[in-house]
């Protein structure tokens, strides 16, 4: 999503330039110790990139990438020792092994979030460390193969290792920069910013996280296997130890998370620093490497929590602050409101039968049954705590009812995951807006469009159309975090709309809006209804609701108190007592 019109050299160009520069520098290094450093820098850069693919984009911090690295290292070493397998085949296989390990680790561990995830990830490499010691692999030495050195990746000139490492790094960078701008990157970043909203917008969050950990594990496995060949000795603490996981995390976080350059910057700065200090002072200060990494990460957390890359970019570009704002496009309110199509058949699109949900002793929703006709605008009203939002959460799959069934287009959707329900045609917005704040308006909507688009460009087209529909097209490049309340409400509408819903659940879409803004948003809702989208809306703003909706359902204490046309509901004494209040009676009568 580079700005249209301006043709900048792509990120591939910068990566290529960097690769050439690094290769030239390597060619001039004659000291074998510095050649080793030139090899180890890309190794840790790739480890950082592997970590970044999972943790940098998805926000699930892994403390255990040493598991994949160590498995790769031991696989290549053992395969060469026992089967005589050349690393040229062993290293790619180590990648396959790392990917499989990623899947095996990810499937159970993605049930966890936050620090539980981080700590659980820590346990895998440490458990493996003891297992490999127990198996008797305290120290594996790769045999020198004097007849076939090239086949064994054992070169007299150590620069060859550095070139191979560079090749790995450039491939990893190319892969990352391709992925980060595609569906992969946007989906993961959406998960990082608001997992529930991403799921509701049709993102299969588990599948994307699994893809990320498989790729990440594969990359770590490859580089672990290569590391074994470079060092020729493999020990459990050296490949499964805490410092391996920590180094992956630290080079990435130091350089900058969620960008292809971050881990590379981190490795280029920190690896030579710690290696050279270790060489000079290692006898006096044995733990100097660990101390360097420790100080680096403490300093980054305190001074530039997003890493050097973003800090520098901020200083250079003043990121996000100088967005030129074109004046609002033709406001939605000004567009004439099309006539509603006659409800073709009035067939129910959504049917609830005896739906109940209790939280402990609190019966949030009790025995609720109703139908929503195709093309209808249904308003749900009721006092705070009546169970309105819980009802929406039941409908879009955030929670499962204790009993009862929800049929959408005749199919029972109880127990389906939110992204499946979104894909089948139910979109929603949230009472408290849940945009992906650090993405642009357009990216927010593109995330919502993925569910029904085969390609990224198709998602772009759908997103554009949805933005035009709600009148936000002029704001496409702004960060969602900087929008006004009205714009956020419209953004959520657009994101839901991009999923091509047949039914939209709008949760207090008008909350906190001033008079003119209310009209504008209502106009957009009307327009959507005019296109034939069925709408269920929760709202407290009665005057607006009375004009908007075809029919009301009143909830009180989790149960349906009344249903009917607006005119009936506003005169219903029970509704007035429970919700509207006496003033309504005197004013409305």
């Amino acid at each position: 999503m580079s700005p249209a019109g301006r043709k900048l050299p792509g990120p591939g160009f910068a990566i290529l330039l960097f690769g050439i520069a690094y290769a030239v520098a390597t060619a001039f290094v004659s000291n074998s110790y510095y050649q080793l450093i030139m090899t180890v820098v890309p190794v840790w850069a790739v480890m950082g990139l592997a970590w970044n693919l999972l943790s940098g984009y998805s926000g699930l911090v892994s403390f255990g990438h040493a598991a994949f690295f160590g498995l790769g290292a031991y696989f290549v070493a053992l395969a060469q020792i026992h089967w005589g397998l050349t690393p040229w085949i062993g290293i790619p296989l180590a990648g396959v092994l790392g990917g499989i390990a990623g899947l095996v680790v990810g499937l159970p561990t993605f049930r966890l979030r936050g620090h539980y995830f981080a700590l659980a990830m820590l346990a895998y490499p440490l458990a493996l460390l003891y297992v490999f010691e127990w198996l008797g692999y305290q120290e594996l030495t790769l045999p020198m193969q004097r007849e076939t050195p090239i086949l064994a990746m054992q070169f007299a000139d150590h620069r060859v290792h550095a070139f191979i490492a560079l090749g790995l790094m450039l491939s990893a960078m190319g892969l990352t920069s391709r992925l980060e701008r595609a569906r992969f990157g946007l989906s993961l970043v959406a998960i990082k910013q608001d997992e529930a909203a991403a799921e509701a917008a049709g993102i299969d969050t588990l599948r994307w996280k699994l893809k990320a950990i498989v790729l990440s594990g594969a990359l770590a496995g490859v580089v672990g296997g290569f590391y074994a060949v470079v060092l020729l000795v493999v020990t459990p603490p050296a490949v499964f130890g805490m410092l391996v996981s920590a180094q992956a995390l630290i080079v990435a976080m130091f350089g900058g998370v969620g960008t292809v350059w971050g881990p590379v910057i981190g490795a280029v700065v920190l690896v030579p620093l710690s290696e050279i200090l270790h060489a000079r002072l290692g006898n006096v200060i044995p733990g100097i490497q660990g101390v360097v990494y420790g100080i680096a990460i403490v300093a980054v957390i305190l001074m530039a929590p997003e890493g050097v890359f973003w800090r520098v970019k901020d200083l250079l570009l003043r990121r996000g602050s100088k967005q030129t704002l074109t004046p609002d496009g033709p406001a939605a309110a000004k567009t004439p409101i099309a006539d509603r199509p006659e409800r073709a058949d009035g067939k129910p699109v959504l049917q609830l039968r005896n739906v109940s949900k209790a939280f402990g002793g609190l019966k949030a929703v009790q025995d609720v049954s109703f139908e929503v006709a195709n093309g209808e605008i249904l308003g749900i009203i009721g006092p705070n705590g009546a169970g309105k939002t819980t009802l929406f959460n039941l409908l879009n799959g955030f929670i499962a009812p204790d009993q009862g069934e929800v049929r959408f287009e005749g199919r029972n959707i109880v127990g389906e995951k939110p992204y499946r329900i979104c894909a089948s045609g139910i979109g929603r917005t949230f009472q408290v807006v849940r945009p992906f704040r650090r993405m642009t308006v357009e990216q927010n909507v593109v995330v919502g469009a993925f569910v029904h688009s085969a390609s990224d460009s198709e998602a772009q087209v759908i997103a554009r159309a949805a933005l035009v529909e709600v009148g936000l097209e002029a704001h496409a490049r702004r960060l969602a975090g900087g929008l006004t309340n009205k714009e956020l409400r419209l953004l959520e509408l657009a994101r839901a709309l991009a999923g091509k819903p047949k039914l939209l659940l709008l949760d207090e879409t008008l909350a906190g809006l001033g008079g003119g803004d209310v009209e504008e948003v209502i106009a957009v809702v009307r327009k959507l209804a005019a296109k034939g989208i069925t709408i269920v809306i929760i709202e407290h703003t009665m005057p607006a609701m009375v004009r908007l909706v075809d029919r009301f359902i009143v909830l009180d204490h989790g149960a349906v108190l009344a249903t009917g046309l607006p005119t009936e509901i506003t005169r219903n004494p029970a509704v007035i007592d429970a919700y509207l209040g006496k003033r309504w009676r005197t004013e409305g009568a």
């Binding site: 539980y116 346990a123 895998y124 630290i250 660990g290």
Partner: protein, 319 residues
């Protein structure tokens, strides 16, 4: 293996598990206090424990044999000395580092600063353990006392076939650990300090309005938390050799215990730690010694995956 043999092994492992577990329980209480009050995952907890071990080691070396109450009890006095020393270290680390990403300042950060805290304390852990390598050396050391190499024989039971040996040093350590936990519970429930800590834990904002200095409460909780764990470390130091990297293994042991007991529950943390001690020792009945820690990690994984709210704890969200 006949029944008597198995019974003997089992009882032996059981008693060893209870004794180690009591000390683990004390260590877990320290970690749990920090999480309970501050909602901070302290990754460096194991390294503060390691520091406690070394404080006990040097305190014992300085004056251990000269104490009036004899060489036998000196290691335990040394372990208790680790408490105040690490308390001060905790105050300093909180003031300079941890407070900048937690409490009021943490709530301004992404996901309330949880990641920043986790990663900051990872950095502290790296500095402390690798710095420890420099200061203390990499050779394992231990505190030897007459008690740690003598045992009471219990039995013979079941005719003459079964008799178990209970290490005297570990028994004294376990007794001190239990007393320390009881004293801590008493302080938390009775004293003004305990009340203000609990108030700060329950609802930091309301506590501020009630005139409680939440930042100070957090600092005290952090310092008490690492000090309690350090005492536990000092108690372990007289029965196990240790080196500067020992903290990492115990970080998992402690988290396993704390998560098992339900994050934030002090009593739960003690019983969680006790359970982990039992698991560790009982695992030796079926697993080779080297896999003891693997057994703990597997148990830890099973607990967080299946019952993240802990076995004894109240329901908590997995975030």
């Amino acid at each position: 293996m006949n029944f008597a043999q198995f019974a003997e092994n089992f009882l032996q492992a059981l008693s060893a598990g209870l004794l180690t577990g009591a000390v683990y329980g004390l260590m877990c209480v320290g970690l749990s206090l920090i999480f309970g009050v501050m909602r901070v995952i302290n990754f460096a907890q194991g390294d503060f424990m390691m520091l406690g071990m070394y404080v006990a080691f040097y305190a014992f070396g300085l004056f251990g044999a000269n104490l009036a109450f004899g060489a036998a009890l000196a290691p335990y006095v040394a372990a208790l000395i680790a408490g105040p020393v690490i308390f001060v270290a905790g105050l300093v680390v909180h003031k300079l580092l941890v407070s900048r990403v937690s409490g009021i300042r943490g709530s301004a950060l992404e996901s309330e600063g949880h990641y920043a805290q986790l990663i900051l304390t990872l950095g502290i852990a790296l500095i402390v353990q690798n710095g420890g390598l420099w200061v203390f050396g990499s050779a394992p050391v231990s505190i030897t006392t007459p008690l740690s190499s003598s045992a009471w024989e219990v039995g013979p039971l079941h005719g003459d076939l079964v008799s178990i040996f209970v290490n005297q040093g570990q028994t004294v350590a376990a007794a001190i650990a239990v007393l320390a936990v009881l004293a801590f519970v008493l302080v938390m429930s009775r004293s003004r300090l305990g009340k203000s800590l609990r108030a700060a834990a329950d609802n930091p904002e309301a506590a501020i309005y009630m005139g409680i200095d939440v930042d100070k409460a957090h600092r005290l909780a952090f310092a008490f938390g690492v000090a309690i764990t350090a005492i536990g470390g000092g108690l372990l130091a007289s029965s196990y050799p240790f080196q500067p990297y020992v903290g990492l293994e115990y970080v998992i042991v402690m988290y396993a215990g704390v998560v098992l007991g339900g994050l934030g529950s002090v009593a739960g943390a003690f019983f969680g730690g006790l359970t982990i001690g039992l698991v560790q020792q009982l695992s030796t009945l079926v697993l080779p010694n080297q896999l003891q820690n693997t057994a703990i990690f597997v148990v830890f994984l099973v607990i967080v995956l299946l019952r993240p709210q802990g076995l004894f704890g109240r329901a908590a969200r997995r975030t």
